[in-house]
């Protein structure tokens, strides 16, 4: 009986945890609508949520198509950048010299506004290719993945290292049994942080030219054509792509970790 009560109490807390932000979000949207209507704000200043939703439904085929293009760019860049970041971290963790060589480079990459490279890359890869955008995303993603993975690889405890040596474990067994499980939560956290960055970079890279195919391109087009509510509708499309990436990598972070650290 107590267990059932506890479960019910737990369910209630879980629902209230889920519900509270939804209610808050709804209230904010309502307040937005109210402010726009009461103050009679011009559309270029702030269009009303209702107008944005109208545009969103009317242009859904274009928005969804653009979202797929931007999402694909972000995904390709995320995967490529993550692979580069993880590989770099593995090499840096195993060699002090490589670590010393890579550290300033990564610090530099973290400071350079990567999207500024977009126009250069467009001329390199041609005006109709998405490659430049994917490279921008990959470079932006590689940095947090590298930093987090390297930190994770350095978390291996001396007592575990001694134990594996005492047990005469092969380097491969040490990697499989100790290094990877120790570093994995850090890698997955890096991926989650990088996922938002991937979508942002993919959209912003489109602001600087290239083929007019993705969310970012359509936002600039709509804004330039004074279709403010439509520009916001495309922003909404971008938000959905970002949300999808965030939720997917959060789930990976939560379920990709072995043992009791789950949940």
């Amino acid at each position: 009986m107590t267990a059932a009560t506890a479960t019910r109490a737990g369910l209630v807390t879980r629902w209230s945890h889920l519900l509270a932000p939804v209610v808050l979000f709804g209230l904010l949207i309502a307040a937005w609508q109210l402010v726009v209507e009461l103050a009679d704000l011009p559309a270029f200043l702030l269009p009303s949520p209702a107008a944005i939703v109208d545009e969103f439904t009317a242009f859904w085929p274009t928005i969804s198509g653009a979202a797929v293009v931007t999402g694909t760019n972000a995904l390709v860049g995320l995967v490529a950048g993550a692979l580069v970041g993880i590989a770099g971290a593995v090499v840096a963790a195993s060699s002090r010299i490589v670590d010393a060589l890579l550290a300033p480079l990564v610090a530099g990459l973290a400071v350079v506004p990567i999207v500024a490279l977009a126009p250069v890359l467009y001329t390199m890869y041609g005006a109709s290719a998405e490659t430049g955008r994917q490279i921008v995303v990959a470079v932006a993603v590689a940095v947090p993945v590298f930093v987090n993975t390297l930190r994770g690889l350095r978390q291996v405890r001396p007592v575990h290292r001694d134990l594996m040596r005492a047990l005469g474990a092969t380097p491969r067994q040490v990697t499989r049994q100790v290094t990877v499980p120790t570093a994995l939560p850090f890698v997955l956290t890096g991926l989650r942080l990088a996922s938002s960055l991937a979508v942002i970079s993919a959209i912003v890279a489109e602001y600087f030219g290239g083929p007019r195919t993705g969310i970012g391109s359509f936002i600039t087009t709509a804004a330039a054509g004074s279709n403010y509510a439509r520009a916001w509708a495309y922003v909404l499309g971008g938000v959905l792509v970002g949300l999808l990436f965030y939720l997917a990598t959060s789930a990976l972070e939560r379920w990709g970790v072995p043992g009791p650290r789950r949940r």
Binding site: R157, V159, H160, D162, L163, R165, A166, L167, G168, A169, Q173, Q177, V178, P181, V257, P258, G259, P260, R261
Partner: protein, 268 residues
């Protein structure tokens, strides 16, 4: 100091020194541990007792002298899984269950699933943790984690057990219980033990011989023969006159060895 070189000796240390840069951690150490013998290394912090244990385990190499484990080099002995080891920190893998932690040495060395399972079940029973087999280490108390670590060290039936202050971080009551358990386990497995400790009563209760070490440079000051109560140790021994005499003998050896360096020795 024993220097006789029996072929069956579990550990034979011959003129070993270990220097870390300008610091001499160990110098001129000779020690022989017979098969099935329980030997404690005791001394103040910085006397090199843990260093000596790490050298025997081939986790570190001596700068002079040689060490043999069952007549082989320490590296051969390590790769042949001649010894089991337990550290001050339990060092369990937090992503493995208790059972899987005990099975770790077996699975690394290619023992089949059924064999692993059977042995882990035996070990769980030995350390009294059968009902916690499917728990994760973080769900266990410090004493229970240390018992899992001992079970893991014993999983491959080693004839030598190396223990580096395994009970150092535990409260006194848990500690005494685990000491009694260790005595029982050693009687069952007949393994030789090299046991590093800070505690005089612990060393005396557990050991056949207590090796008293002194610092700067780390060396063996004296070896106290204990061999209490014909091998059958129990808690009554802790109140025995011979026990107190041995405690006194070890304490005097510690004081005589280094009048200045007694910090870190528990005399409780």
């Amino acid at each position: 100091m024993t220097t006789e070189s029996l072929p069956a000796a579990a550990v034979h240390v011959d003129g070993v020194a270990r220097e870390f840069g300008a610091v001499t951690a160990l110098s001129g150490v000779d020690l022989t541990v017979a098969a099935g013998e329980f030997v404690s290394l005791i001394g103040p912090s910085g006397c090199g007792k843990s260093t000596l244990l790490r050298l025997i385990a081939d986790l570190d190499r001596p700068t002079a002298g040689s060490i043999q484990v069952f007549g082989r080099s320490t590296e051969q002995a390590r790769l042949a899984h001649d010894y089991g080891i337990a550290f001050q920190q339990a060092g369990l893998l937090p992503w493995r269950t208790v059972r899987a932690n005990i099975e770790l040495p077996l699975s690394l060395h290619g023992v089949g699933r059924a064999g692993r399972r059977e042995r882990a079940t035996e070990m769980l029973d030995l350390v009294g943790l059968t009902e916690f087999a499917d728990h994760f280490p973080d769900q266990l108390s410090g004493g229970m984690q240390q018992r899992v670590a001992i079970a893991r060290a014993l999983a491959e039936r080693p004839s030598l057990l190396l223990m580096d202050e395994p009970f150092g971080a535990l409260d006194e009551m848990t500690r005494e219980r685990l000491q009694s358990e260790l005595v029982r386990i050693c009687a069952e497995t007949r393994a030789a033990v090299v046991f590093v400790t800070h505690s005089i009563p612990e060393a005396v209760f557990l050991s056949d011989r207590v090796v008293v070490m002194s610092p700067r440079p780390g060396r063996i000051a004296e070896v106290v023969d204990v061999r209490l109560g014909d091998g059958s140790r129990n808690d009554a021994l802790r109140e025995d006159r011979a026990y107190f005499e041995a405690v006194t003998a070890v304490r005097e050896a510690l004081h005589g060895g280094a009048a200045t360096g007694l910090r870190g020795v528990e005399t409780r």
